[in-house]
C-alpha cells in the first residue's frame, strides 16, 4: 500500500482506500483491501494471524461465504503467495478502535486460523470486535458489538450496538440481531440498502472521510 498523499490523517492508496495513519494494522501482506475502504484511527487489523502454510494443505474453511469477493491481491511481496488473513471489499468502513481478527478453530487437535472475509459496503462500528468467518455485503455491525469466531453474517445482516454474536452463529440476510447472546430480533425493511438510504450510505460515508 504505497502512500499517495502524505499529508493529512489518511493515507490514500492507489485503489482509493483511506487508511488512518494512527490505525494499527499488522501483517499487511496478509490483508487485501478491495478499494475505497476506510480504516479509522486506532482500528486494529490482525493480518499477522494467518494460517501457517503447510499446516493444512486442504483449502480453506468449509464455510461458504458468498460475500463479494475482493479484488485480486496485488502482486505478492514474498516469492510464495502469502495466505490471506483478512480481506475487505469495497466501500467498507472500519470505525475507530474496531478490532478485526481472523477466526480460529481447534481442528484435529491443531489450533489454526481461518481467513476473515468482509464484503462490500460493510460498516463496522466503534470498538466492535469481529472474528467472523465471513461478513456479507451491506452488513452493519454496531458499536461495541462482538462477532464471535467463525460466525457468518449474510448480506444485509444488521447487528445492533452491543450485540454479542456467539461463535459459529449464522445471521441470515435482512435479519436484525441483538442482545447477548445475540438473537434474531427483527428484519430490516425491503428498502434497506438502497443507495442513499439506511444500509446504502457507504459511498457517502467514504466521501466524507478526510475532508
Amino acid at each position: 500500500m504505497p502512500p499517495k498523499a502524505a499529508k493529512g490523517e489518511y493515507i490514500e492508496t492507489d485503489t482509493g482506500n483511506k487508511i488512518s495513519r494512527r490505525s494499527n494494522i499488522h501483517g499487511t501482506q496478509h490483508i487485501i483491501l478491495g478499494g475505497k475502504t476506510v480504516i479509522q484511527t486506532d482500528a486494529v487489523i490482525r493480518g499477522d494471524l494467518y494460517r501457517l502454510p503447510g499446516a493444512h494443505p486442504s483449502s480453506s474453511s468449509s464455510t461458504t461465504g458468498d460475500s463479494g469477493e475482493p479484488t485480486p491481491a496485488p502482486a505478492p511481496a514474498a516469492p510464495n503467495t502469502p495466505s490471506v488473513a483478512v480481506s475487505i471489499g469495497r466501500y467498507s468502513y472500519v470505525s475507530k478502535q474496531a478490532v478485526l481478527r481472523p477466526p480460529s478453530r481447534l481442528h484435529r487437535g491443531v489450533h489454526s486460523f481461518y481467513p476473515l472475509k468482509i464484503g462490500d459496503h460493510v460498516f463496522i462500528g466503534e470498538r466492535a470486535v469481529v472474528e467472523a468467518a465471513s461478513v456479507g455485503n451491506h452488513v452493519h455491525i454496531g458499536c461495541d458489538a462482538v462477532v464471535g469466531s467463525m460466525a457468518i453474517l449474510k448480506d444485509f445482516a444488521y447487528v445492533l450496538d452491543g450485540a454479542v454474536i456467539p461463535p459459529g452463529m449464522v445471521v441470515p440476510s435482512w435479519c436484525v440481531v441483538g442482545g447477548a447472546p445475540a438473537r434474531i430480533v427483527g428484519e430490516v425493511g425491503e428498502g434497506y440498502g438502497v443507495e442513499g438510504a439506511e444500509g446504502g450510505l457507504a459511498r457517502e460515508r467514504y466521501r466524507l472521510v478526510g475532508r
Binding site: V110, P167, G189, A197
Partner: protein, 647 residues
Amino acid sequence: MSRPFPYTYISCPCVERPVSDPSRKKETSPRKGSSQPAPEINDNDDEEEEKDFDPRSPRANFSLYPPEQLLYCEDCHQIKCPRCITEEIVCWYCPSCLFETPSSMVRSEGNRCARNCFSCPICTAPLAVSTLENVSGSGSQQGPWVLSCGYCMWTTLDIGIKFDKPTNIRNQLSKMTESSRGRQMSRAYGDLKSPLSPLATAYSTVDGPEVPPDDGKPPADEDPAVLGPDARFAALKAFYRNQLSETSASPNDPLGTDFGAGFSSPGALNRIMSLYTSSTLSGLYGGNSKKSKPKPLMMREAQTASEGLKLAASDAEDTIIQRMASDDCGWEGLASSEQRVFQFPEARFVEDLLPLPTLLRTKRSKRCKSCKHILVKPEFKPQSTRFRIRLIALSYIPLTTIRPLAVSPSSGVTSSTTLLAAPTPDLNALQPLQPIQILLTLKNHMFDPVRVTLGTPSVTPGAVATKVTILCPQFDIGANSDVWDEALQASNPADQRSSRSGLTGGYEKVAEAGKVWDKGRNWTTVVLEVVPGLLERKTGTLNTKEKKDEEDAKDARHARDATSDGGWSDSDENETTPPPGHGLGLETQSSPAPAQPDEDVLEIPVFVRMEWDSENQMEQPVAKGKPEMVKRELAYWMVLGVGRIEY
C-alpha cells in the same frame, strides 16, 4: 429514538384512517397541504381541517417508520406501512443452516429444523456439533459427539447425552430422550410435532393401535410413566379425536359439525349427508322416525396411560421441593422462567432442559391490504436476496437527507449574530436559542419531475418550542434518469454539494428566503432555519415572536386546534404538560423542570406534498400512441430528527 442524528421518519397516512370521516370523498389522497405557509391556509375546505403532526404524541409511534421500511402501492397511489399490508409465506428456512423446509413438512413436523441445528437451552445461542475425541490428535474422527454452546459452554454432556454420529442429531436425540429410563421426564421427547398437524401420527410412540376402550376399565397401572410429554400429547389428541368421531356419529349432535371436519373426518361425509335426510330440529324436539337410532355415546376423559392419562405421584411435589432445597441444586440448578417457556412444563431444573431444535424463519411476500396487489415478492430460495417484485416507497417518495450547515456569521440568520466558532453544530448538543441552518435535500427517484411543497409548524409541538422556518417551501425536483446515467454520475452531485457547503464555500453562500440552496439533476436542497428552544424556561423563546404573518396564522391555528377539537394527540401526551398551542402563555407555571425523557430531542414535523404528471399506464392498456398524462399527488408527514438540545 434509537437512530443517530440526523434521521428521518415518515408517517404512514393510514394513521388518519381510523379517525377520518368515512364520508370523505378522497380516501386515498390524504391531505391537502394545509400546513403550507400562509396565505393559503384558510383556503381549504372545512372538513379537511388538519392538525399538525405531533411526533411526540403516543399515537405517532404507530405511524412513524424509517423510510426504508415503507412500501408503495401503485394502484392505491399510497404509501404502505407494515400495518397496511398482508403477508404470505413464500418459504420456510432454518436461520442456522439456511436450508429450506417444505411447507408440507412444516405442517406435519412442526416449524423447527429437522437437521442438526439446535439452540442452547441455557442461553439460546446456537449449539455446535463437536467431537469429544478431538483433543487426542488428528487420528480418528469417530469419537462420540456432543452439542456444545460456544457462548455459555454448556454441552449435552451436562445432561448426559452423547451422539454416535455427527449427522441426524435430531433423530438420535429423540430416540435417546424417548428411551432413556433414568430421567423422570421427557421420556418420549419425540419430535416436537406441530400440535395442529392433521398428519401427526397419533400413535407413533404408543405401542400398537388403540382399541376403543370399554367403559369402566380402571386405569392401567402396568407402567405409570410410559409416555413422555410429546407422546402423551399425541395420545391425548388421538383419544379426543376418536371420542369426537364416536360421539358425533349421530347427526343430531350439533357439536360434531361445530368442531369442523378436521376432527372426526371418517364420519364427516356421513354426517353431512344425513343433515339432508334428518333435520337437527326434529331430532332435538324428539322428532319422528329417528328415535330408533341408538343414543350417541357420551364423551369421556382419558382413563389409561396409553390414552394419555398421567397421574401425578402423591409425593411428586415433595420430591421437587426437596430437590430444590438440596445443596446440589441451589439457585443455579433451577431453570429460569425464560428457559422453561420453551421446554416441557415438567422441566423445573437445569438438568431437565433439552437442546431446542432451531425455530424456522420465513420469507414472505406482501400485498396491499386494500387492493390486494402484490408489493413485495422475494425469490423463493432462502439464500437469495433478490426480489421478483419490490415496490418500496423510496422509489416514489423523495429520499430525504438532512445535514447541518456550517455555522457562519454572515449567513441569513436574523436574530443573533453572536455565534460561536463551531464549524458545524454538534447535533448531540444543540445550543438553545442559537440559530442553526439545516440543509434538507430531497432526491427524486421517479422518472417524472416532481413539484414539492413543504410545510411545518413554525414552532415544534411539545414542551420545548423550537422555531422552524423553511426558507424555500416550494420547489421542483428533476426527474430521475436512467440507472446508468446515475451510476456514471454518482459521485458528482454530492461532491458539489459537500464542497459548496464546506468550510470555504459556506461563507460565500448565503441562504436566501424563497430560493433553493442547491439543485442537481434529480435533487434539490433547501435550507431550514432552526432556533432550538429552551428546555427549562420556555417563555422567553416563545413570546419573542417573529413578526411574520404565517407564524401568527400558525399560532392561531394551533390554539384553535387545541381548543376546538380537544386535541386527540395532545391530550394524552402528558398529564403535566398542557397542549403546546394552548399552553403558550401558561408554560412557566405548569411545566415541571425535569420533563419527559427525550424531551430535549429536536424533532421537526414536516408536511410533504408532491405533485407530478405521470403516464396513465394502469387503467388504459389499450390506448396506444399518445400516453395519457395524469396528475398525481401524494402527501405525507415526515419527522426530521435533527439533534438533541443541550441544557
